[in-house]
Amino acid sequence: MINQVGGESASAFPIAANLGEPAGPRISFAMRLTHSGHPRLLSDGPAITTGSLEVALFITCFNDTLFPATGKAVVQLLERLGHRVEFPLEQTCCGQMHGNNGYAVEATTLMRRFVRVFADAERIVTPSGSCAAMVREHYPRLAEGVADPGLRREVADLGGRTFELSEFLVDVLGTVDVGAVFPHRVTFHPTCHSLRLLRVGDRPVRLLQAVRDIDLVELPQAEECCGFGGTFAVKNADTSTAMLSDKIQHVRETGAEVVVAADNSCLMQIGGALARQRAGVRTMHLAEVLASR
């Protein structure tokens, strides 16, 4: 078969359409994928709550150590919405790096630890799509490898109590307008594990659309991986960089000042290249935008 495919590119080029227009949300993500079916949301129906809730923050080791501003923003945001935040100090790492690289023994140890640390938390919120996916999607598989039916039950129960931030805001609190103000041109990178493991769909975009004075522009080829992939970024640094350079090109096409995502690992990759290129574009976690006033 001869390769005679045409040269058309699927993505719309948003800059021209946006120049000179009044600021305001104009993003229209075609999120085709539906939510993976969070156990709690499925069994209890819309779990929208109005009263003050107690929330256990799972900060992730990565944010704790390198991106504390994101954690502070989550605390500020949830408290502003009238909820109480707890931070279990015993927490360390969910074991994603070990799990994704085939070190199941270490990952299982960290999973058991996580189950213990968050045993009493009624609801756990984390500002990381991939760490939430570790707990919800990968823990059950890891637990299958252990002859301990009790652990399997605990892990299933834990999954039902764990929420990525945008899921918690939209599904549990039933809000998209969190009262944020952010007068900047922003583009949003949806991140692979949020999209394809958690299936958060357009929740983060709906939250951003409700932010006052934001100028939200669609990122071309938004659903394509930025090339981070944990150890992939260093084990396959050349391929990772090739993926990243295309992502950066798409970011720059938008004319955005700020790239937003719900995972700081992807933002470290994207931001690392933007900084290296002195691109004059900064990265910011979704929580920090939502906490801005």
Binding site: N3, D64, H98, G102, G227, G230, A233, N236, M243
Partner: protein, 459 residues
């Protein structure tokens, strides 16, 4: 042996390859999305496809014996091949028995996998590829870089120059697809009429009826399976479908996923031999070559469901940049990264399970729902468990595991990391290791003076 990272580094430096691949895969990918969106039961078709293949694999010995009995009953001859050498020996012997010095080839992954063309060449038999893209690859002395579109790394102008040098020398040739196809047609037509033996692969083999199915776009495969006297099919044992009606699902899944067509132009089905109609002799070679080993792995075995559509290649952010050659494997892309280490053994392809960012795009498009990211993680585990305890990565992972397993050790490590804020951090980026790999294209993240838990305790 070079691994994927090194091979990829070479391929990534080829701007023509990047451009050709990017244009071709994004167009196929967009077309596939439209073709799939036409069906409101696509998700149910995927479920059915996965279930059919899972059932066939769970009952493989019986299904293969049913297939053998049905093929023999229809006048065919069945051979069993444990590995590539046995399969090649069968084909070579059949060619010798019929005293042919050339055989036509239908595009086939299985015959690429066993290196049939070289084996035939060594026995003095010329293999003539008849699929246009395979012909291009063969004329260029190249290897395929895509399952469906083997010459995806070449553009029209490159092909025009190749043809002008080989099969169309002296002819005036433009780079229009119709012109290039016409040149190939002139070259192949004489061979179709002359050759007495052809070799094909199989998309499916139906146990119930003994029918072999080949799906294609050009009609050259149809020529091969109808004109010569002798037809030999090399079929991986995982290609068996229990029942005729299973084709209803598979023939919807495959074309939409691979060429983004509702139906492919040519679907050839044949059952044994028939008087005065098509080949007079039909041989079916059932190829194992690592498949039963793969079947023994409870997680990895789902790779055997693959119907070679290549949708996972077109959507993969790694494949679409490196191309197929970086995988050093007949099966490239995400499916190759889980199939090759299992068929050839992990020691033959230890870097392939890491040739992925685990973005999950491949799983979403797979028509038989192979959870490629999970199999990659599983194979990483098998590689990691074979590593010596002294292996630097293994030792580092154990150490980090111990740090994370204890709050005090974790907090101490956080404070230690802060030393990286000074000259020590800049120094570390100059020695080979993860930090240097990171900083070749990106700035190091800023290490904050106060981490989150310190802020929490102080507030």
């Amino acid at each position: 042996m070079k691994g994927f990272p090194e091979q990829a580094r070479v391929e990534l430096q080829n701007p023509q390859l990047r451009r050709n691949l990017g244009v071709a895969t994004s167009a196929i990918q967009a077309k596939r999305e439209r073709a799939v969106a036409e069906l409101d039961d696509w998700e149910r078709l995927r479920e059915a496809g996965a279930a059919i293949k899972t059932r066939a694999l769970a009952d493989l010995p019986r299904q293969l014996e049913r297939l053998e009995a049905a093929v023999v009953a229809a006048g065919g001859i069945v051979h069993w091949a444990r590995d590539a050498a046995e399969a090649c020996a069968h084909v070579t012997r059949i060619a010798r028995d019929h005293q042919v010095d050339e055989v036509l080839k239908v595009k086939s992954m299985a015959t690429d996998e066993i290196g049939l063309n070289d084996a035939l060449g060594a026995a003095g038999v010329e293999a003539i590829e008849t699929d246009l893209a395979e012909l291009i690859v063969q004329l260029a002395g190249d290897t395929p870089s895509h399952i469906l579109v083997p010459a995806i790394h070449r553009n029209r102008e490159e092909i025009r120059r190749l043809f002008a040098r080989t099969i169309a020398s002296g002819e005036s040739l433009t780079s229009e697809p119709a012109d290039l196809a016409a040149a190939a047609r002139r070259h192949l037509r004489a061979r179709f009429l002359r050759a007495r033996m052809a070799v094909s692969g199989a998309n499916f083999g139906v146990a119930e009826t003994g029918t072999v199915v080949v799906v294609e776009s050009e009609g050259n495969g149809r020529m091969c399976v109808t004109l010569p006297d002798v037809l030999v099919t090399v079929m991986g044992i995982e290609k068996v479908l229990p029942d005729w009606r299973d084709l209803e699902v598979m023939l919807q899944l495959l074309p939409r996923s691979s060429t983004a067509e509702r139906m492919n132009p040519y679907t050839s089905l044949w059952t044994g031999v028939r008087e005065k109609d098509g080949p007079r002799e039909f041989h079916l070679i059932l190829l194992d070559n690592g498949r039963t080993d793969t079947l023994a792995d409870e997680v990895g075995r789902q790779a055997l469901r693959c119907i070679r559509c290549s949708a996972c290649l077109n959507v993969c952010p790694v494949y679409t940049r490196t191309g197929g050659h970086a995988y050093d494997s007949v099966y490239p892309g995400p499916i190759g990264a889980i199939l090759t280490p299992q068929l050839r053994g992990l020691r033959a392809a230890p870097t392939l399970p890491w040739a992925s960012s685990l973005c999950g795009a491949c799983y979403d498009v797979c028509p038989v729902k192979i959870d490629i990211p999970s199999v990659l993680i599983h194979l990483r585990g098998r590689v990691a468990r074979e590593r010596a305890r002294t292996d630097p990565e293994s030792a580092a992972m154990r150490l980090i595991g111990r740090v994370f397993a204890d709050r005090r050790r974790y907090e101490r490590a956080q404070r230690l990391l802060r030393l990286g804020r000074g000259p020590l951090g800049r120094g570390a980026a100059t020695v080979p290791g993860p930090l240097r790999a990171w900083t070749t294209s990106r700035e190091q993240p800023h290490i904050p003076a106060q981490n989150f838990r310190e802020w929490w305790l102080a507030r």
